[in-house]
C-alpha cells in the first residue's frame, strides 16, 4: 500500500484536479511503479463502480403546498390599520372598566382616612395637655343631643369649642374640618357616578367590534382570492 499522499494524488488525478506538470510527473511514476499502478487501478475501479450505480427516481413528487411551508395569503395594507384600531380600542375599553372599578374605591378610601385622622386628632387632644385638651371631653358630652353623625361629631364640636376658646390648636384644626365636611357631603353623589361615562365605553366597544369584523372580512376575502 502506498502512502496516503500518493493515494490522495491518485484520487485527484482521476478527477482532473492536478496541474499538467503534476499529472505528467504522476503518470511517469505510475508507469514505473507497479504498486502505485495497482493503487491507481483500485481507486479508478471504485470510482467507476459508483458512477455505474443506477440513478433512482423519486418515489413521489416532492412539490410543496402553501400549508406545508406555512404561507399565509397576502393581506391588504389597510389590514394593519384595522388590527391596530381593534387592539387599541380593546385596550382602552379594558382601561375604562378598570378605572371605573378602582375610582369609587379610592374615593371611599380617602373618605375613610379623613375621619380616622380626625378621630385620632381629637383623641390626641383628649390625652394631651393644654387648654384644648381640657375642653374636648366637655364638648363631647352634648353630642347625642345634637344628633350629628358620630364620626363627624367629635371634631366639629371640638372645633367649635376650640374656636370659642381661641386656642392655636383649634384654629389649626379648622380648615381640616371644613374640608372633611365637604368630602362627606359629596360622598353619596360620587358613589353612583362612574369615572368614564358609559357612552365612551359603548363607542370603544363598537370601534373594536367593527374593526374586528372588517379584519375578518378582509382575511376571508384574501383567502378566497388566494385559492
Amino acid at each position: 500500500m502506498k502512502n496516503f499522499r500518493d493515494i490522495e494524488q491518485l484520487s485527484s488525478y482521476l478527477d482532473g484536479q492536478l496541474s499538467p506538470s503534476e499529472s505528467a510527473r504522476l503518470e511517469s511514476r505510475i508507469s514505473s511503479d507497479p504498486e502505485l499502478a495497482s493503487a491507481y487501478n483500485d481507486i479508478r475501479a471504485a470510482r467507476g463502480i459508483l458512477r455505474k450505480l443506477p440513478a433512482r427516481k423519486a418515489p413521489r413528487t416532492f412539490t410543496l403546498t402553501r400549508q406545508m411551508v406555512g404561507l399565509k395569503p397576502p393581506l391588504p395594507r389597510s389590514y394593519s390599520v384595522f388590527r391596530f384600531s381593534t387592539t387599541f380600542a380593546t385596550f382602552l375599553l379594558m382601561l375604562t372598566f378598570a378605572a371605573n372599578a378602582i375610582a369609587p374605591n379610592m374615593r371611599l378610601g380617602m373618605g375613610a382616612v379623613a375621619p380616622a385622622a380626625q378621630e385620632s386628632y381629637s383623641l390626641c387632644n383628649g390625652c394631651g395637655g393644654g387648654p384644648a385638651a381640657t375642653e374636648a371631653p366637655m364638648a363631647a358630652a352634648p353630642a347625642p343631643e345634637t344628633g350629628i353623625v358620630p364620626t363627624q361629631m367629635p371634631s366639629v364640636i371640638s372645633a367649635d369649642s376650640a374656636r370659642e376658646v381661641g386656642t392655636p390648636t383649634a384654629e389649626a384644626s379648622m380648615p381640616k374640618d371644613s374640608g372633611n365636611e365637604s368630602v362627606s357631603q359629596d360622598q353619596p353623589e360620587v358613589k353612583g357616578e362612574a369615572l368614564i361615562p358609559v357612552l365612551w365605553q359603548i363607542v370603544l366597544l363598537s370601534l373594536g367590534l367593527v374593526s374586528g369584523l372588517v379584519m375578518f372580512v378582509m382575511r376571508r376575502a384574501a383567502m378566497q382570492k388566494w385559492k
Binding site: 496516503f4 493515494i7 490522495e8 491518485l10 484520487s11 485527484s12 478527477d15 484536479q17 495497482s38 487501478n41 483500485d42 481507486i43 479508478r44 475501479a45 471504485a46 470510482r47 467507476g48 463502480i49 459508483l50 458512477r51 455505474k52 450505480l53 443506477p54 440513478a55 433512482r56 427516481k57 423519486a58 418515489p59 413521489r60 413528487t61 416532492f62 412539490t63 410543496l64 403546498t65 402553501r66 406545508m68 411551508v69 404561507l71
Partner: protein, 202 residues
Amino acid sequence: MDEPALIQTAQRGDLDSFNTLILHYQDMVFHTALRILGDEDQAADAAQEAFISAFRSIATFRGGSFKAWLMRTVTNACYDELRRQKRRPTTPLEPDTEDGEEMDSPRWLADPNMTPAQQSEADELEHAIQHCLDELPTDFRTVVVLADIQGMDYSEVATAARVPLGTIKSRLARARLRLRECLRGFEELLPSSFRLEEERNS
C-alpha cells in the same frame, strides 16, 4: 428551464416557481438522500424536509451553484435524520430458537450490519454498493456520494459539505480506498470491466 429567473421569483415567495425547481431536482435530491441514509422511506422524508427548508431559506441564496446549495440542504436533512436515529436506535428483531432465546448465528456475528434479508438483497450489485457506502463514516459517505454518484466537482462538493477543498480531496481518497476494500467481498457481482482490472492487478 430558466433557473436564475425561477430562483429569483421563488426568492420573492412564489411557490409555483420553486415547485418547478423541485420537479427538476427531486430525483437527484432523493437519490443523494437514499445513498447517504440507505433507506427509501427515510430518504423520501429527508428529501421533503430538505425542500421545505430550502424554500424557507431561499432568500439566503446569493448566487453560485444552486445545485450545490440545494445539496447542502439535503445533506443537512440527512444528518438530522441520522442524529435522530442515533438518539432513538432501533434494535433489529432476531428470530428465536426453539427454546425462545434469540438466535446468534456466527454469520450474523461476523457481519452485524447485514440481516439475512439484507444478505439476500445484497446479491444485487446495487445493494452491495449501498452496503459498502453504509460502512463508511457519514462525512466520507457524503463526499463520495456527491462527487462520484452525483458527479459534482470539488468546489461544489466543498460548498455542499461545508468543508475546505483540501478536506474534500483527502476524504474522497480515503472513501474510495475503503470502498474498494469493501467491494472486494462482492467480486462476483462486479461488472466484468471491474473484474478485469482485478485480474490485471493480480
